[in-house]
């Protein structure tokens, strides 16, 4: 394993972190979309705000992390990906704007109509953004992005593998979010929401499993290199993912929600990791390997050192943030009436 491989590995760890943590945030938005009308959806939406409010911006930064590693570590590949996949990336950009602003604006909206409008922007883009990101992954993994960036700007990202990628991305987001939200609701002592999301997680887990197995056929036909890798060197990851998925289903059935969170994360992380292993050593499948498009070695060293700095500074801070959120030290108001706020009225 040489220097460029290590950089690629670190970048891919960023992709896994984004898929898991931001995935759960996107998934929460998907459930927000299906939470029902303003009358019924209130408790669900409040739970979602409570769960992702403190963490979504930090989770979002993994995407920046990945982009920066890609363009610094593998500049030619970045140029090629952005050229060929101009259209889906534009949709992702729009989705990111509407998701973030919709979420932040809704929290401080003053009437139901604007809350509804901002909420729809947040929820709908939470569905579309991971879908397009999955399509992008499918385009790269099925060998449709040539290194000179000359891939067809429309057909490159709507092949069968892209549809599998988009669908799986949305489903895994929804699955992760349902498990997380069930566990959150349980911790907050809200039985009805706990049960609702436990059931949803259970059903989504089964759908995810069926979709993952069903997705193999299109991959075999459409993305030979990837399929070979998934059934070859990546097969261990697939097994771990499948086993964790099954374990999640069992644990959800038994209402062991804290444990189900771990297996759910493992299942998603393993499937994304499996994609990475299956695609190795290609950055752009069938077109460019890690070694071929790696940037200057001094820069690669710099990237790894900066990652070391990040590991020392960012990861403990991130752990602290999650800890505070998980213990409900952070989050929206906890007290019953929300009135005994320790603040003064200032005219």
């Amino acid at each position: 394993m040489d220097l460029a491989d290590v950089v690629a590995l670190v970048m891919f760890l960023g992709i896994i972190a984004y898929a898991v943590f931001a995935g759960a945030d996107f998934g929460s938005g998907i459930w927000d979309l299906g939470a029902g009308n303003a009358e019924d959806g209130g408790p669900t939406r409040r739970l979602i705000d409570h769960a992702i409010g403190p963490v979504w911006e930090a989770n979002h930064v993994w995407l920046i992390f990945v982009l920066v590693f890609l363009w610094t570590g593998f500049p030619e590949a970045f140029g090629a990906i952005m050229s060929t996949l101009y259209v889906p990336f534009s949709f992702v950009a729009l989705g990111i704007i509407f998701r973030g602003c919709g979420f932040a604006f809704r929290k401080f909206a003053d009437d139901l109509n604007s809350a509804r409008l901002f909420g729809v922007a947040f929820a709908l883009s939470s569905l579309l953004t991971p879908f397009f990101l999955g399509m992008i992954a499918g385009a790269i993994a099925s060998g449709r992005v040539p290194i000179d960036g000359s891939g067809n700007r429309w057909t490159s990202w709507i092949g069968p593998t892209s549809w599998v990628g988009g669908l799986l991305a949305v489903l895994t987001c929804a699955f992760l979010a349902a498990v997380f939200l069930a566990a959150d609701a349980e911790r907050l002592g809200h039985e009805e929401l706990t049960e609702r999301f436990r059931r949803r997680a259970f059903v989504t887990a089964i759908i995810c499993g069926v979709a993952a197995i069903g997705g193999v056929a299109p991959l075999l036909l459409d993305a030979e290199t990837l399929a070979d890798g998934l059934l070859g060197k990546g097969v261990g990851f697939m097994i771990v993912s499948g086993a964790s998925g099954l374990a999640s289903i069992v644990l959800l059935h038994k209402s062991r929600l804290a444990a189900a969170r771990l297996t759910a994360v493992t299942a998603v992380a393993a499937v994304v990791g499996g994609w990475g292993v299956a695609q190795y050593p290609w950055v752009l499948v069938d077109h460019a390997t890690i070694a071929e498009v790696a940037g200057d070695s001094a820069t690669l060293w710099g990237l790894l050192i900066s990652f070391g700095v990040a590991a020392v500074l960012v990861l403990p801070s991130l752990a602290y943030l999650y800890l505070l959120t998980d213990k409900s030290v952070l989050g929206t108001e906890f007290n019953k009436h929300g009135q005994d706020h320790e603040s003064v009225v200032v005219k």
Binding site: M82, S83, V92, A93, S114, S328, V346
Partner: protein
């Protein structure tokens, strides 16, 4: 086809790409200023409140943090759009030089990470974390904001003063000779000759923009008769930051500009509107550059002033535009007008800061006159205009190069055909974001004025706070 119907020929895609970059960057810069400078002001208010056991200051910090929450969200997403655009609009730049300037972006990414994490902790930590510890959560945000600004500015400075690599001619696969980047020294690229002063200039600009904007909000309220202690403190804290930054700014700008004399003389020639290389150049205010000279401007009555500013000598020689072919010259009037706008507004803000400082020195309180408050109201928007004008000066002044002297903007741009369409979409989307953000912040201030300390989110119809009994633990702030 649609693009042809709407916008005509495709040659102008470069212009569309440049406009899209300018719009999204120019927008993000304003919001980013709040990410950099606002936490410091919140910190002062929060610490002051804790130290003096002053609920008014604490309440200010609390409200500012809620406004900051909205602005940070806009900043996070508009910043992400920029990182996409680096590749979407300028694949030629990133493919060629991504590994030279990329490390600074990586370090900026780490700064952003720290910022986002501690913003989450601070915003949601009210009444949950012990006050002293809670207020200290702003410190990493301030440090990360300053560091992030440095690294982003480092990339921009590198585009003006590219260094830290060597170009080697290699024969490409199709037999053509291509330039290849070798021997990259990422630290040399980060600490290029332009970064130090350009960074300080932007850092101070952020404090001026936010300081004057926030002070202006309270000045408006005071003009409407709300002159209680809450508003006086709300005006004084941000104004103090702005008034410290404003008088330092021209000096930093001056030295940052002197770098141009040797390193980017054509940009300087555009700023001065200097057609031919001359000595003892005077400074001319206003007017229009007609291709040979400035028409209708007012010459300042100090012979050789422009030479002196650029070279420290009244007889100094300044390079004219004629030293490079026309296709290597930036659009003079845009650059010159932007520069003079920046300098004019910056100077006016120094005077305003001096007024405030003088008043405080004499009477231990800020000037109370209506005119002072009126000027404060316009100072915020004026500072934003100066900020944008400064960016236009340096960015348009670098044209036609994206990497000064090495890569032309037209060679870096994408060959995608629908940039006008994407520009139009971006215009609409950013307008919507602005309307939404303004609306939300205004509704927050309206409710605060009405005495609400609690901003409940209307998740359902007529969401009374009492109705949360059925969902313990899920009441909103």
């Amino acid at each position: 086809m649609l693009q042809l119907l709407l916008f005509g020929a495709a040659e102008s895609d470069l212009l569309a790409a440049r406009n899209q970059m300018a719009l999204t960057l120019g927008y993000h810069i304003i919001i980013a200023c709040f990410g950099v400078a606002f936490p410091a002001m919140i910190f002062v208010a929060h610490r002051r409140g804790i130290r003096n056991d002053d609920p008014v200051s604490i309440e200010l910090a609390r409200r500012w943090s809620k406004v900051a929450a909205v602005l940070f969200a806009i900043g996070a997403v508009t910043g992400t759009v920029l990182s996409f655009e680096m590749g979407l609009l300028w694949p030629g730049l990133m493919s060629q030089y991504g590994d030279v300037m990329g490390l600074a972006f990586a370090l900026e990414g780490i700064s952003f990470f720290i910022e986002a994490i501690f913003i989450g902790i601070y915003l949601y930590g009210w009444d949950r974390i012990p006050p002293r510890v809670h207020s200290l959560m702003l410190v990493p945000i301030m440090i990360a904001g300053a560091a992030g600004t440095f690294f982003v500015l480092s990339v921009n400075a590198w585009m003006n003063a590219p260094t830290g690599f060597r170009l080697e001619e290699v024969v490409g696969p199709s037999g053509t000779v291509e330039q290849s980047v070798v021997d990259v020294d990422p630290l040399a690229a980060i600490f290029n000759s332009a970064v130090g002063l350009q960074y300080l200039h932007m850092f101070l600009a952020a404090y001026m923009v936010v300081g004057f904007c926030v002070a202006g909000v309270y000045a408006t309220a005071m003009l409407r008769g709300r002159t209680d202690r809450y508003h006086r403190i709300g005006l004084a804290i941000p104004l103090a930051f702005a008034c410290i930054a404003a008088p330092i700014q021209p000096a930093i700008g001056h030295f940052a500009g002197q770098r141009l004399t040797d390193e980017q003389p054509v940009k300087l020639a555009a700023i001065e509107g200097l057609a031919e290389t001359e000595s003892r150049v005077s400074a001319v205010v206003g007017g229009y550059f007609d291709g040979e000279r400035i028409v209708g401007g007012v010459e300042l009555p100090v012979p050789g002033l422009a030479s002196f500013m650029a070279t420290n000598s009244f007889g100094g020689e300044l390079t004219g535009l004629n030293e490079v072919p026309v296709e290597d010259q930036p659009p003079v009037n845009v650059v010159r007008f932007a520069f003079q706008t920046m300098v004019g507004i910056g100077s006016a803000l120094v005077v305003l800061a001096a007024w405030a400082g003088f008043g405080y020195w004499r009477k231990r309180q800020l000037p109370q006159s209506v005119w002072f408050l009126r000027l404060l109201v316009v100072a915020g928007p004026a500072a934003i205009v100066a900020l944008e004008a400064g960016w236009i000066t340096t960015e348009v002044g670098r044209q036609p190069w994206v990497v000064h002297g090495l890569l032309r903007t037209e060679d870096a741009v994408t060959d995608a055909e629908w940039i006008w369409l994407s520009l139009s979409v971006i215009v609409v989307v950013y307008a919507l974001v602005t309307v939404g953000g303004v609306r939300v912040i205004r509704s927050m201030t309206r409710r605060w004025r009405a005495g609400e300390t609690h901003l409940a989110t209307p998740y359902g119809p007529s969401q009374p706070l009492e109705s949360v009994d059925d969902s313990p633990g899920l009441v909103d702030v």
